[in-house]
């Protein structure tokens, strides 16, 4: 819900890009016009008095009448009025600050890592990227850290920044209000290329984000050895539906499904009496059509759902390569 701000204040602030910005801009406008008011209240009389009460040459110095040296009532008034105003400002400012610090539970958490002199981003599924794309349909939370010195993760369009401190994390979150590209700067001095340590947040539609993320995932997986890819799917480090380890042990113990220990190349007896040698073909079939052939003792129906359309070809190959390593 964008809040209307007058053109003079709007000129002083960058375009809004987050749910936080309209609230921020409203408070900023209050402060700005309040300041203009108090500035005039003080400076107007100052200029007027300075011109009005000039001392003429040779004019004798008058004693100051007591009522012009102090006045308890007036002095208490200009203690009380600012006090009330600043306490109000404190309350509003602090509430906004806490809001900006505490993300909603459903926020999509992205790790931000500053290093001299670039920003790196890690998504919850393990995708690492030098470009920051986020979907426009959900709150985004940043978990900010640093590899070396202190940086500061600053997005003017969102009105938010927080230092990236080595050894620990800081955080802020935002709800995108529109799609677009928003520059990211480092706001804490960090050495030679401090001013070049820039990045950008691209807020895109959820569909575009999914496409981009699938592409990133593919790129990432292609960089991982197949057996390692399979291991990650097995452990659930790469979430693909349920993690294999929930039902299949590696040490020979019996869980919901057969253990993977020494599975590769083994002769397995099926529920229908046939025997099968565990090879690429059988594993692919078990993943895509789990009910087709069920190992004896685990029937009558398999507890496993299909991974058709969930696992890519490369991921299936990864699982196969992983199983080969489980002796």
């Amino acid at each position: 819900m964008p809040l209307a701000v007058d053109p003079i204040t709007a000129f002083q602030l960058p375009e809004q890009g987050s749910s936080f910005a309209p609230h921020y801009d409203l408070l900023y406008a209050v402060l700005f016009w309040g300041s203009v008011f108090f500035f005039l209240v003080l400076i107007g009389p100052m200029i007027y008095f300075a011109l009005r009460y000039r001392r003429r040459p040779g004019e004798p110095i008058r004693p100051t009448p007591p009522h012009l040296t102090h006045n308890a009532l007036i002095e208490i008034a200009w203690i009380a009025v600012p006090l009330v105003l600043v306490v109000a400002l404190f309350v509003v400012g602090t509430v906004q600050y806490i809001d900006a610090s505490v993300a909603p539970a459903n926020a999509y958490t992205i790790q931000v890592r500053g290093s001299m002199w670039s920003w790196g981003y890690t998504y919850p599924n393990g995708v690492e990227s030098g470009v920051l794309k986020v979907p426009s349909d959900r709150p985004i939370k940043f978990l900010i850290g640093s590899k070396d010195t202190i940086h500061s993760f600053y997005v003017p369009a969102f009105r938010l920044k927080m230092d990236a401190v080595p050894n620990r994390y800081t955080t802020w979150w935002f709800q995108p209000t529109r799609q677009g590209r928003f520059p990211v700067y480092c706001a804490e001095f960090c050495g030679d290329q401090h001013s070049q340590m820039v990045s950008a947040i691209e807020v895109v539609s959820p569909e575009e984000f999914e496409r981009w993320m699938a592409q990133k995932l593919k790129e990432m997986q292609e960089g991982i050895p197949l057996a390692e890819l399979g291991r990650r799917i097995y452990t659930g480090e790469l979430p693909r539906g349920a993690a294999c380890l929930a039902c299949h042990s590696l040490d020979g113990s019996r869980l919901v499904g057969p253990s993977f220990k020494g599975l590769w190349g083994r002769q397995e007896r099926m529920q229908d009496g046939s025997t099968v040698t565990v090879d690429e073909e059988y594993i692919r079939e078990s993943l895509m059509r789990p009910q087709a052939r069920i190992v004896e003792g685990f029937g009558p129906v398999s507890a496993m759902q299909t991974y058709e359309g969930v696992l890519s070809d490369r991921e299936v190959l990864g699982i196969i390569e992983f199983l080969k390593t489980v002796k």
């Binding site: 300075a50 102090h70 600050y97 050894n167």
Partner: protein
């Protein structure tokens, strides 16, 4: 106006005028070993002015670079980083902190108190030599390759990543020693004000400048040692690595920031409180009217000093300190607004129905009010913790603290310098030249820093050598405007230096009391004699009782007790036997 000292009261008291502190004793050596607070004040004045110009030179270079979004003037971003670091460090530690207390304060404080000197003259001289030693180390740091850490020396950049390690150590050592110089000055002033006030000089007869200096001195004494240990730890971290602040050794860099700002926030008030004191003097004296709410102003100085110890965390709202601490520090920061507002409003109220002489010191006071109120109101923006999230570390902050530090301290320094110049050197500066200088300085100042507020709130981060990237190039016109304004300030400063130095040699001789003020420094010759007062004075009037001015001579009318003391002194000067001692 007469240029001669008025005729002394009695024939017995007439004689050759005592030589001024400037004349006697002679020779460079006598200056370098002097214990006279006035001479030490002058030594400080020369030193801090030199620091002001060196720091200003770096500012000019910075503004030159920022005319263009690309790296244009400096050979590397490192060189730019070194320039802004030196600008900050020199201005803060070598000029602004010692500026008003050590230069102007040293000169006028004992005179205002009616004392013959500060309580610890040797420590006073030591303070100046410590300043020299600290500054020499800073220069050594420049020669050793320069420092690029920023004046705040944040760890781990300063401990681990800054490449010129020796230079960083030298600079840290320099600031450490400058800290001692500051402690010595503050300690001296507190003792002097407690123990050496002249007869009749009650606490509430002290000029408000002294109240401000007193509050400042307390800050110097209490806060500066923490800077000392912080910098010592930073040096140890840099040299050996002890893991208290350095994160790669398990330390907490945010803790360093707490330590640093525990000093450096009160230091902001070390910079501004004396300026407020000067302004209280200037406004009252040049309005020839008792200051409105003397006690409110006096106690607000103490209140500001006290609260300043509780608010340092507002420099750290985005540093990763806890939200609880953020809220607490934000609240306490807002409280500073109250005593500050009291002062501002009381100054304006003092002008009401005054008899205002718009001479240069008064113009500087009005200029101070103008820019200081802007600086103070923008401080409210930054104290509001949510607003700070966006504005922190942008040009908004840069503009804010320049409005307070330059607009506040430098203008008060210049105003105070013009105000006490006749007393210091016994000469009047050229009023017209001074008004031109004022116009250049104040005009140039507003011109330079107003655009920076807009740049900052529009998202321009500070300490950027280049701004040729997405979203920042648009600031180029504002940067250009700011840079041009900087040259106007520079011209104003050089012009001011020229006419002031000229006046020392060719200026009209100053009267004893050219402004018709009633604090005690206007009750001794211009320039004063080596021993301030021929007899220890007795005061029976307040610092702003302008009705005590004698219209004919412009001098302060003595009270009955003073007359008695003078008479007694006069009797003593008679040759022995000329008259019996009037034993009581």
């Amino acid at each position: 106006m007469t240029t001669e000292a008025p005729a002394p009261a009695t024939a017995e008291l007439r004689g050759e005028p005592a030589p001024s502190y400037l004349q006697e004793p002679r020779g460079l050596w006598s200056w370098l070993t002097t214990l006279d607070h006035k001479r030490i004040g002058i030594l400080y004045l020369i030193s801090v002015t030199a620091a002001l110009f060196v720091g200003g030179l770096f500012a000019m270079l910075i503004r030159l670079e920022l005319i263009s979004p690309e790296l244009s003037f400096f050979s590397s971003t490192l060189a730019y980083n070194q320039a802004f670091t030196l600008h900050g460090a020199i201005m803060v530690f070598m000029f602004v902190i010692p500026g008003i207390p050590a230069a102007l304060g040293n000169f006028v404080l004992p005179l205002m108190l009616g004392a013959q000197d500060v309580a610890l003259p040797r420590l006073n001289l030591a303070s100046w030599y410590f300043w020299l030693a600290g500054s020499a180390l800073m220069i050594g740091a420049i020669l050793a390759g320069g420092i690029d850490t920023g004046w705040t020396f944040y760890i781990p950049y300063s401990s681990t990543y800054s490449r010129e390690g020796d230079a960083v150590l030298l600079a840290l050592g320099g600031v450490f020693i400058l800290g001692f110089s500051s402690i010595f000055t503050g300690l001296n002033f507190v003792v002097t004000m407690h123990k050496l006030r002249c007869r009749g000089m009650g606490w509430f007869r002290m000029p408000l400048f002294l109240w401000a200096i007193y509050a400042t001195a307390l800050l110097q004494i209490v806060a500066t040692p923490v800077l000392g240990i912080t910098l010592a730890l930073a040096m140890v971290e840099r040299a050996f690595g002890v893991g208290i602040f350095r994160p790669e050794l398990g330390g907490d860099p945010v803790l360093f920031q707490h330590f640093f700002w525990f000093y450096s926030h009160p230091a902001v008030y070390i910079m501004i409180l004396p300026a407020m004191g000067v302004i209280s003097e200037l406004i009252a004296v040049h309005s020839h009217k008792k200051i409105f709410g003397y006690r409110a102003i006096a106690f607000s100085s103490l209140a500001i000093a006290l609260i300043s110890f509780l608010v340092w965390g507002h420099h750290m709202f985005t540093s990763g300190q806890s939200q609880v601490a953020g809220a607490v520090f934000s609240f306490l920061t807002f409280l500073v607004a109250i005593p500050t507002a009291i002062k501002a409003v009381n100054w304006v109220a003092t002008l009401y129905k005054g008899q205002i002489a718009l001479r240069t010191p008064m113009l500087y006071a009005l200029g101070f009010l103008f820019v200081f109120i802007v600086g103070g109101l923008t401080g409210i923006f930054l104290a509001t913790v949510s607003i700070n999230l966006h504005l922190h570390d942008t040009y908004f902050v840069v503009a804010h603290f320049h409005y307070v530090m330059v607009g506040g301290t430098v203008m008060a320094f210049l105003g105070g310098l013009h105000h006490w110049w006749p007393k210091m050197f016994g000469r009047m500066y050229n009023e017209r030249a001074a008004k031109l200088g004022w116009l250049l300085v104040v005009g140039g100042f507003i011109w330079t820093f107003l655009p920076q507020f807009i740049m900052g709130s529009r998202g321009m981060p500070r300490r950027y050598a280049t701004y040729n990237m997405e979203g920042l190039e648009v600031h180029q016109p504002l940067h250009l405007m700011s840079s041009l304004g900087a040259w106007v300030i520079g011209a104003g400063m050089v012009w001011t230096l020229c006419y002031l130095v000229y006046s020392i040699f060719k200026g009209r001789r100053a009267e004893v009391n050219p402004w018709r003020a009633v604090s005690l420094e206007w009750d001794v010759p211009s320039p004063p004699a080596t021993h301030n007062f021929p007899i220890d004075p007795h005061v029976d009037f307040g610092p702003y009782d302008f009705e005590r001015i004698d219209e004919a001579t412009g001098l302060i009318r003595p009270g009955p007790e003073s007359q008695r003391l003078l008479a007694a002194a006069a009797v003593k000067t008679l040759p022995p036997g000329a008259e019996e001692e009037n034993s009581g």
